[in-house]
């Protein structure tokens, strides 16, 4: 997904060149896309084994 991060960076640069009133609309998208590899990793994880309580000695 390195292509996606590069794409997000390019979008960031492109938007930064525009007048500031575009920033609040476009910046959240660029940020989301830059973080999307992490999001993709996170949503693909198997559910936490938290529900499986370790057997206690008691």
């Amino acid at each position: 997904m390195s292509g996606t991060v590069a794409l997000a960076a390019a979008v960031g640069v492109l938007v930064a060149l525009r007048p500031p009133e575009v920033w609040p609309i476009a910046a959240p998208f660029a940020l989301l896309w830059a973080l999307s590899p992490m999001v993709a990793y996170w949503i693909s994880l198997p559910p936490r084994a938290a529900a499986a309580q370790p057997l206690s000695a008691g």
């Binding site: 997904m1 794409l7 990793y41 559910p47």
Partner: protein
């Protein structure tokens, strides 16, 4: 792979499955029964070279198995099946089957060996197509059987799903020569393939689907950067296009399906649906850039292969886990009838 494998004599139907397709008890018998019904028997037209009546292929409904709490990743839970609680809501009716009397073959089903082979004889040069199920279904005439159901696991990992999507997109674009009617046959000559209009439309619709993520992405960028465009309007427009299909099922779920459901339980069900739909929208937006990149990559690769370098062998795999999940058409089970 399987091309040199010929079916044993006396075999009339073949059921094709993927390694992970689950066949419920009795489904095979019911498929054979549906196939053998006098009204469904295929009639092959030698002049057109395809099945013109009845069906040589039947495609049962394929439903993703419900992820269990212990196994399913968040991705699987949000993206498998339509947003909403009823996994069957979108699969009982199919526009193509309802309006044109033929469905789309998606690689898992049953086919009549003789009619199928007759309809596809000499159609495609070796190794020209990566994904041939839709193509086969068009010539052999595929029927959608919604009351027989196969189950299949939806990938739990995004990267695995991505490999699959990329391969499907490449397969869809390899059909472009057939859509525009300038495809080579096995002898290497170019013939005007007699593809019915609805078949071309189905193939074209697949191309449309691969273009939607890149188009949404480009629309957003254009809306933000072009001097005369209004960023608010275009952003709202793209977001609405993404959100409406996910949110509609929630609306239909607002009315309780039957009496006797307590208000609290109904509210909870609607709430769950709403959270699921909202996560679906949120993730679709987040993954939009990646999807746009992925699809563009698949399209450019395929077009350069088909039209520029003219290499025949498709790029089958990157060897990742998703690779095994492709629809190869293994002759998993023979049913002699």
């Amino acid at each position: 792979m399987v091309e040199h494998l010929s079916a044993p004599s006396g075999v009339r139907y073949v059921i094709t499955l993927d390694a992970d397709t689950r066949l419920p008890e009795g489904a095979a018998c019911r498929l054979v029964g549906t196939m053998a019904h006098p009204l469904n028997r295929p009639r092959f037209d030698p002049r057109l070279g395809r099945v013109v009546e009845g069906y040589a292929v039947l495609q049962p409904r394929v439903t993703p198995t419900l992820p269990t709490d212990r196994e399913g990743s968040l991705y699987q839970r949000i993206f498998s099946g339509p947003a909403g609680i009823d996994p069957y809501a979108s699969a009982v009716s199919d526009v193509y089957q309802d309006l044109f009397g033929e469905g789309s073959y998606i690689g898992k089903g049953i086919y009549d060996v003789d009619a199928f082979e007759a309809a596809l004889a000499g159609r495609v040069p070796e190794n020209a197509l990566l994904s041939h199920d839709l193509f086969e279904g068009i010539f052999a005439r595929a029927g959608l059987v919604t009351d027989i159901e196969f189950f299949e696991e939806f990938p739990a990992h995004y990267e695995v799903a991505v490999v699959r999507q990329h391969r499907w997109a490449r397969g869809d674009w390899q059909l472009l020569p057939w859509i525009i009617g300038r495809a080579p046959d096995t002898s290497g000559g170019r013939i005007h393939a007699s593809i019915p209009l609805i078949g071309r439309w189905k193939m074209l619709d697949n191309l449309r689907r691969t273009l939607s993520a890149p188009a949404a992405f480009v629309t957003l960028i254009a809306g933000w950067t072009l001097p005369f465009a209004s960023p608010v309007i275009w952003t709202t427009f793209v977001l609405a296009c993404i959100a409406i299909p996910s949110l509609l099922p929630v609306l239909s779920g607002l009315i309780p399906h039957r009496r006797g459901i307590s208000k609290r339980s109904h509210a909870r069900a609607v709430g769950t649906d709403l959270v699921l739909a909202a996560s679906h929208v949120g993730l679709t937006v987040t993954l939009l850039a990646d999807q746009a990149w992925l699809m563009t990559d698949a399209i450019v690769r395929t077009l350069s292969r088909v039209y520029v370098t003219r290499t025949k062998a498709p790029r089958v795999g990157d060897g990742s886990a998703g690779e095994i999940r492709f629809r190869p058409q293994p002759l998993s089970s023979f049913i002699a009838a």
